[in-house]
Symmetry: C2
Subunit: 419 residues, 2 copies
């Protein structure tokens, strides 16, 4: 299994994704340390369009009913399809904080807007961290000049590090495509995981910028479509966060003919590029899931429809018994079949088959068995990236979900997260 | 919180449940060691009605689509509402074993039937353990005379031990009630947990006998109703097993006027007694959940309807982030509220309140906060049994779920269950 998985290759054009440093003409990024909750590390990130007038912007946000104050602020301010910057803090989520939380989210935005000399409503804010605690605004005010001073074209890695909480590595991805002869555009973004990750959402925090010229409507279209095929296909622990926010800015510095529809070849190519970046960031988030030691790709094929395939895939992907078996490198296929059987999808056991990579371990409801199969299965389970395919024998629809294993470290990280 | 929780007291008459040894006139139980998978411990249990003609019997089984071969056998044989005995083995589940599995389940039943001198279809079989492996019938045949020789009125504890897999203690519960003047009846049962425990099912294995005279229809009615208020209210890890089987026998040795309806005072009293036994066994299963160190009672009140309350309660009860916080004694209420918010129930954040025991930590969408509340919450979280109540402020319906925490030992037990 490669980092751009089979499913991606089937559905989309092949786009090379780069996880190293990148720059995006027209945008700058930076980071600083407010000391609000962490010490000795940056915890504020600022991403900014150089044009004081801002640019096209789109977003996808959590569907959790307790959405955080900054999520509400972003939703409102993105209604016009335009923004200039996003300020993000790590450590305190500003979720379940009532009216006071909304006031503080707006204050954060105002501080950045004043520093940038932009209208207040052109700045978005995002937060991640402990739920139920109020943000501290004073340290943000104090450090704002330094944060704005840190902005530079190659500041993305600093920004990616500043938004980390329990993440162990920063997550960056970018692609470059030639949209029309002589007009190459870049799509690049950063993300943070790494717990409270589940579908039916955007993800915790993801910021993507591009120098392509795109109308807000087209940008929102490809953003929503891209999320459906990326962050809505992953799970670490099945817990959808209060703060999931994915924001995409399109500045237009590439000088391409603006993308104004969703059907032209250029627009489709842009959509593929954006999806590739989002999918790569999503997979990076799973690989760095809390306590994760393995990346597991769960493909459900032969389903009657995509929703059924998705339901089976996520039931398997979220099963603690399946996830601990992966951690223990125990090729306990019975747990995978059992999870599929309780998914609520009316599947026929006698038509179900299960494969680890290309190895069939369960065919039409009957185990293959034998020492050789058991040995080969164990060899596959010892790998760091595992592909499994469950064929339901019902139809032609499929869905691929990505998850990680459930390890001692997940418990360790989460038994005392607030202290 | 006592072992018979608040909810039980509200809905039902108070019945004293005994977890010690019991006997049930008209029934015998026993155990023996086949060596099929474990060594040095009994792994076969036999429960038998002394009347060779059998007695009324009822059952509730898993809704997993991959139900095990013995589950299919039991379902078929219970259609007539009558049976004499149940033979259970621990270590191999006989699930996902195809036609061969069905043949072996029937062979197991035949061996017991021959030993008991009863018709083959009067014997039920249940299995628990590894999925996908075939039962070994020869060791069962070899040990059958000894198993039948072990049957005695006080053999329940031996039987309860023989069906354990990852359970750490045997689970027994019984009640005695006077059904009519001078006619006291006993309802007693045993159960095993302790992983792959989730609602929408019966539970792994539960066997209950009573000397009350009850028609099969009435017995099935109270069995189904009792499961709804007991085993369908618990979860250890959200994984519904392939083998869940709950079987109830009613022998009639008590000599009461047979219960032929579900509305008489006697019948209601019997229903309460059965429910009390089932609920106590269910709570014992949670307390002995894999790796469990705490019992958590999650009451959702003020819901628009029972189904909404249930959905919120189970979303909280199955959240790995909530469960690890309980393990770490971290009163991280934000995770509880967050889980409720992603449950799919359209709740209004500004009407939601959360209580730990009687301590309000979140009121109408706003945290109470303060050092005192934090200290008191930590004190409550340090206890072994924790009650929390989430009030949705929508209506008058409620649901209580029981779960346990998620600890290092859960990972340890399940990372290498088959080896």
């Amino acid at each position: 299994m490669t980092h751009v998985p089979a499913e991606a290759e089937k559905n989309t054009r092949s786009v090379m994704v780069n996880r190293g440093p990148f720059e995006i003409p027209g945008f700058v990024a930076g980071a600083a340390e407010s000391g609000m909750r962490y010490s000795g590390r940056p915890d504020l990130a600022l991403i900014c369009c150089e044009d004081p007038g801002g640019c096209a912007a789109a977003g996808v946000f959590t569907r959790n009913r307790f959405c955080a104050a900054p999520v509400e602020l972003c939703r409102e301010r993105l209604e016009g399809g335009k923004a200039r910057a996003v300020l993000a803090n790590a450590g305190i989520a500003n979720a379940c904080t009532g009216e006071e939380g909304k006031i503080r989210a707006a204050q954060m935005a105002r501080l950045a807007a004043e520093g940038l000399g932009s209208p207040e409503d052109s700045v978005l804010v995002c937060s991640t961290g402990v739920i139920g605690r109020q943000l501290e605004v004073a340290p943000v005010a104090g450090i704002m000049p330094r944060l704005i001073g840190s902005l530079r074209p190659d500041g993305w890695q600093d920004a990616a590090r500043a938004i980390m909480t329990t993440d162990t590595v920063e997550k960056m991805a970018s692609v470059r495509i030639e949209l029309e002869p002589g007009k190459t555009v870049t799509v690049g973004g950063i993300a943070k995981g790494s717990g409270m990750i589940a579908p039916d959402m955007a993800t915790l925090l993801v910021f993507v910028c591009t120098d392509a010229a795109v109308t807000p409507e087209v940008l929102q279209h490809w953003t929503s479509a891209g999320v459906e095929d990326s962050f809505n296909c992953i799970t670490v622990d099945g817990d959808t966060s209060t703060n999931d926010s994915l924001i995409v800015f399109a500045g237009g510095a590439a000088g391409n003919s603006p993308l104004t529809d969703t059907t032209s070849e250029q627009s489709l190519a842009f959509g593929d590029a954006l999806r590739s970046v989002l999918r790569d960031l999503a997979i990076q988030a799973v690989m760095d899931g809390e306590g994760a030691t393995k990346l597991i790709e769960i493909e459900v094929s032969g389903a009657a429809d995509r929703q059924s395939a998705r339901q089976v895939a996520f039931t398997v992907a979220n099963s603690p018994l399946v996830k601990t078996a992966f951690f223990g490198a125990d090729a306990n296929w019975g747990r995978i079949v059992c999870a599929a059987g309780r998914s609520g999808v009316p599947l026929a056991p006698e038509r179900v088959s299960l494969f680890f990579a290309d190895l069939c371990v369960f065919q039409n409801g009957v185990p293959i068995g034998g020492e050789k199969v058991e040995e080969e299965a164990s060899r596959i389970f010892a790998q760091k990236e595992i592909h499994l395919r469950l064929d339901l024998g019902e139809g032609n629809s499929s869905f691929t979900a990505w998850t990680c294993d459930l390890s001692f470290d997940y418990i360790k990280i989460n038994a005392s997260y607030r202290t």
